[in-house]
Symmetry: C2
Subunit: 412 residues, 2 copies
């Protein structure tokens, strides 16, 4: 029988009534002839409540203990979801990540899935039952509890869908799909019926909070279609799948903005080969990842380097950078937290020229200064002053035709 994975986020698990309503939805898909596996997040607000308790004792508390703490939230959800499924007459068995064999690397609070032993889940499915798996968490080879980073239950779901060879992974959330631009910024932004994995990857990596990047990576790698839809209404969402004919006709599919990154700059480095490698090896050895990178030479003949990291990693990243900067005898390390990244994404860029020029012109016309630029085959991102984020997004949404007819642009 074909397998579906249902994933329910925090708001969809927010009350016992909603949990029961999810159980009925799962029952409906089973009646349609599917085997269903379920992945759940902690109840809305619970992860914040738990980490708030830790912060009350020590905001710098250890990652290991924060993971033990936070993972309790999903443990509650799996049990309640299984109980709700029993209530509507469906066999179900809850699984912590440890029980489900979701093995990760040992980087606490931002672990990455290494493997999933789907055997136990599969044996429940084969008996017609529903395995209910805790999202967000994993376990190391040494049986240490890890978590995968905030919002990573989507990744758990996509990885489990991949491990089970699921026909589709339905991500139930509090938004009804993926929009061409954030509707809170751009009134009337188009909802997308369909988007390719690559576009969604670029969107997720560019500040769209609908799905975690890694969930799309898993989905793409194992060719599992994802559907983003709401558990609050019964209507189709956005399907994320392989690129299909016609997608390239649209120049730009979506626009995203991201205020979660900060820029670290290292000035006055002796300009010699291998310097960037030294900096980024140091960061990578601590599990810190870098997004945009710009390197150039100053008037003094010395090199300058800027890169962005997420603000939550900023302290660790600055420390790591200062270690290397000292070794390289760099003049200065500085930090700018007041930046935003604005990106346009679309497979259409592959076959249409001039998109970058059109974007830069639009921003220039509004007097918005560009600090950094990075591009991929289907994405152009710029770093600008945080204050101009909304203006930039609205301007680009209008210029690239991402607004439904008869809708205006929200005024500032």
């Amino acid at each position: 029988m074909p397998i579906l994975v249902h994933k329910y986020g925090g708001t969809s698990m927010g009350t016992t009534e909603r949990i029961l309503s999810n159980a009925h939805r799962i029952a409906a898909d089973i009646r349609r002839g599917y085997n269903v596996a379920v992945v759940v997040s902690a109840m809305a607000g619970e992860t914040n409540r738990l980490l708030g308790l830790a912060d009350a004792i020590d905001p710098k508390s250890s990652g290991r203990e924060r993971d033990v703490l936070a993972s309790a939230g999903e443990q509650v959800s799996i049990a309640l979801m299984a109980i709700a499924l029993h209530k509507v007459g469906i066999e179900a068995v809850s699984f912590t990540a440890s029980q489900a064999g979701i093995v990760t690397d040992p980087f606490h609070t931002r672990a990455k899935i290494k493997s999933i032993d789907a055997g136990r889940l599969r044996s429940v499915l084969e008996k017609g039952g529903v395995p209910v798996v805790a999202g967000f968490q994993g376990v190391t080879d040494d049986m240490e509890v890890t978590t995968l980073g905030r919002g990573a239950s989507d990744t758990s779901a996509a990885a489990i869908a991949a491990a089970l060879g699921a026909e589709r992974c339905d991500i139930y959330t509090d938004v009804d799909g993926v929009y061409a631009a954030d509707p809170r910024i751009v009134r009337g932004a188009r909802k997308l019926a369909r988007i390719s994995y690559d576009e969604m990857l670029e969107m997720a990596g560019s500040g769209s909070k609908v799905l975690q990047t890694r969930s799309v990576v898993f989905a793409k790698k194992y060719r599992v279609p994802l559907q983003v839809l709401t558990s609050f209404e019964d209507k189709p969402g956005t399907l994320i799948s392989e690129e299909v004919e016609g997608m390239e006709e649209i120049l730009v599919t979506g626009i995203c903005s991201d205020k979660t990154e900060a820029r670290i700059s290292v000035y006055g480095i002796p300009d010699q080969p291998g310097i960037a490698a030294q900096v980024f090896e140091q960061l990578a050895s601590q599990g810190l990842s870098v997004d945009m990178i710009v390197q150039g030479k100053g008037e003094d003949g010395l090199a300058n380097m800027s890169f962005t990291v997420t603000k939550s990693d900023l302290n660790d990243a600055v420390k790591a950078t200062e270690v290397v900067a000292k070794k390289l005898k760099a003049r200065q390390v500085s930090v700018d937290e007041k930046i935003a990244k604005v990106s346009i994404v679309g497979v259409g860029m592959k076959s249409h020229g001039g998109v970058a020029a059109k974007m830069f012109r639009a921003l220039a016309d509004k007097g918005i200064n560009i600090y950094m630029i990075s591009t991929s085959e289907i994405r152009i991102s710029v770093v600008i002053d945080e204050d101009y984020t909304e203006l930039a997004v609205r301007t680009l949404a209008k210029d690239f035709d991402l607004i439904e007819e008869d809708e205006g642009v929200v005024s500032a």
Copy 2:
């Protein structure tokens, strides 16, 4: 170095302030030259909150899922306690029951500890660290999460103290020791400085809620002294240990009452050998335990049998009893939930006669009818009408001299 086990109950874990205060107390014992292992309960109210969510979906939800759910409460506590210990400069590592190797039988919601693999805890202690272990929970050989029954964190603590060969297990709670009678019923009831394992066992089995019976069983078996004391003040509590000289001079050490049991009666059973065995084998096969038993012959030549079980097991026990009753062609099975058990306990009974007679006389003088009697070497229990519980306890406390001087008896 000598090892102490500290156990903190729900009220002692009720707020982050109290958790930090516990960390300071642990630090003080470490400065005194001890290695300390810690066992914690869920934060006050948390287990009820979690099981309340399950009940909102289905009050008859599966034991397996209720265990997964409830065990999340202690998981939160171990992480917060470890974080608090780090904060005061002490190395600490949290352990779920699964990580600590606390293996139980598979009876969900009332599992019993089979073994503890103290290796991981010991390796933390040997490095001068504090292992912080989740009470109340265990794991089966098949990695299924179990819980040991409400209040069983004391049992976890005593079992861990035994496994580690601890010098003493300090049970921090919201009462400051063991009293000769419940001070809420008997004003001025004596606080005991010391009580023997056997007396405490009888007290715990007779309705004293200070410690779970099984915790005392572990402590006695492995000769670990327990101390019951409060985490809210700095003063000595009650030491539970081997019997020492002088204890026998007191006729009665304590009085307890228990309203948590119900009586099941089977009437009109053919009087033949092996009938009691059939009934109790049936109950035992489902992990249900029976407390008091009375069997007698009626005027019709047929046997009648009464026994008590805890009210939480009542439904299961009645079902099991009815199965056997039908097989035996018994006339009737009836249930009485409005009963109470009142017990007097004291090693002094071993060397003093007439204690039972004095007890029965005291109750008779107040017009209290006795339904069932059971005795051990150091305990006499009677089952009476629930309505007379407090009157019986006060009367016995006065007659057996368990009230401090200058204190009266609370009037009804």
